[in-house]
Symmetry: C2
């Protein structure tokens, strides 16, 4: 049976001894440097026999690089971030780098701690997704090591930044409803402490204004990007007899909350009320009715961020292809009934 890894804790010395060469020769063989054919073959054989693998820790120590990339997200288990992480994994795997994921749960202190851990562990690059870290701190980081920012709009940090046009996406979502004849459109936003939530709300406001539609104050609700908040907001709306024919939720999770509230109140989607979400989560195509939404290419964002990090680590400039949000029309929206 082939054993996984070293039998005990073998070192390069053990290999050298067994092969009857010096440790540098073993090191050279391991690293594919020039060695006399005869020795090369012999050492390689011993290497295989002993199932030897060099210690990544020792290599990191001497090389000053660890082949790891710190990735800071709000919540690993949230669908959107999870998708992004998948993209990051895929790219880094190819380049022999290892992502180190940390969740900060929208908590500034946890973010700082995570960064500190990355620094302590001497990661070769850091990817910061969203978050509350100050611009100054990010700039500080960027000056010292490869840093890639995702979803931090409006920061002037000297680091490649990947942003999707949240405002434009929200504008498109709202316009879609308007084009279907809706005039009374509610928007349930995410928490205004988050940039994305604010940008999307702005997009909604812009679209309404551009089409000459007034926004009733009670059409603007604030949720927290989770299902329950939107569920409650929608129940409230109905109980208050607020008039509306469509709801644009700040993300798909909240759109689900909206759906359920409408269902509870005996309103049908899309016959009575049209609903649009944002993100296009994997489940969104399968809920009943399938959700019209704005697709965020989360995996691609992750891939792009990883590519940028790899470039930076190689001392090259990062190439940032523009990524687009796309309206995905499914079955939760229809022309307003006249």
């Amino acid at each position: 049976m082939t054993s996984v890894g070293n039998e005990r804790n073998l070192t390069i010395r053990d290999v050298a001894q067994r092969a009857g060469v010096s440790i540098s020769t073993v090191s050279r063989v391991i690293n594919g440097k020039k060695v006399r054919d005869e020795l090369q073959v012999n050492v390689q054989r011993v290497l295989n026999e002993m199932n030897f693998r060099p210690s990544a820790v020792a290599r990191s120590m001497v090389r000053g690089r660890t082949q790891t990339v710190g990735v800071l997200v709000e919540d690993i288990s949230s669908s959107y971030y999870a998708e992004m992480i998948k993209g990051i994994e895929r790219i880094l795997e190819r380049t022999g780098h290892h992502p180190l994921f940390k969740s900060s749960h929208w908590n500034l202190q946890l973010e700082e701690e995570a960064l500190q851990v990355f620094l302590d562990h001497n990661v070769d690059a850091i990817v910061v997704v969203g978050g509350l870290i100050s611009e100054a701190r990010l700039q500080d980081l960027a000056a010292r090591m490869p840093l890639v920012l995702v979803g931090r709009v409006g920061v002037s940090v000297d680091a490649p930044t990947i942003n999707l046009d949240q405002q434009g996406g929200a504008y498109g979502a709202t316009r879609h409803l308007i084009e279907l004849g809706h005039r009374q459109i509610v928007h349930i936003s995410g928490p205004t402490s988050q940039e994305d939530a604010v940008a999307r709300r702005l997009g909604y406001l812009d679209a309404m204004r551009d089409h000459g539609l007034e926004v009733r104050p009670d059409w603007l609700c604030e949720g927290d990007f989770l299902e329950t908040s939107a569920f409650r907001a929608t129940m409230q709306l109905i109980e208050n007899a607020t008039p509306f024919t469509a709801i644009f939720a700040g993300n798909d999770q909240m759109a689900l909350g909206v759906n359920l509230a409408l269902h509870r109140k005996g309103l049908r989607v899309p016959d009575d009320v049209s609903v649009v979400g944002f993100d296009d989560l994997p489940v969104s195509a399968y809920v009943v009715p399938p959700l019209t939404t704005i697709r965020q290419p989360a995996q691609q964002v992750g891939e792009l961020a990883a590519h940028a990090a790899v470039s930076l680590m190689a001392g090259e400039a990062a190439q940032l292809a523009p990524l687009d949000l796309k309206l995905i029309v499914r079955e939760s929206t229809r022309a307003v009934r006249r």
Copy 2:
């Protein structure tokens, strides 16, 4: 402004020099060992001033421990694993350990590679969730280092194993349908290459048999745990005019696929067909109608696994509290129409 981490790459020598003491004294202060009060205060001040943090890599090198735990899952971005990961993060954070997550995508070779990476990086413990790694290999690993297994039923490896009674859960799901008067119950299982899928199918079969119900061959479908497969299977069932009044899907994602197919064919849930899922994903409570399902306490599983790993690393035996699956009755099931 407080800077994150070291200005350049400060070492313990720089601190020693500035504080006018030896590096051992600095080391002692950092590690909270006995040092003369006067020196202690002085060194600590310099430490703070310089914003010094010891290199985790160097510490790992000399201590032989890295404070990291390798966690191998099939797919980080899958809801169920993501929840578990959250539980693992939460516990390890408290003990100062850092999880290193790897996805293996149901690919044996990727699993082996991930393990190898863990070993190379000298992780202090490994948590293997499900997967295809052979029992022999796991035993090999367990003999050499702290290893915790999750969801590997029937392996006789000398390592703490956390298992939920998948078969029992499926039995309960099926019995729930039977108690509602259903007799014609379809089961769409996950891929039979996965232990969980097989166990759940067995639970279904047991329940049917125990209640004297025959299982038509075409009531047993095999999906792949993803929405689409169940969608297709359900469409097929209806097109073949297979008689059924309820469907037990192997997981919630497939239950969503079932829902959509029923919707497409004009069948109502639960009025025409009852549907039960498995897992209780965060979204399951918010789809319309809210899904009746078997709750797997994914986060708790993660927490338990992390606790076990921590115990093992401390040289203690792991305490494994039993975790239960629970039937969550929501609105996708109702008594069969007579």
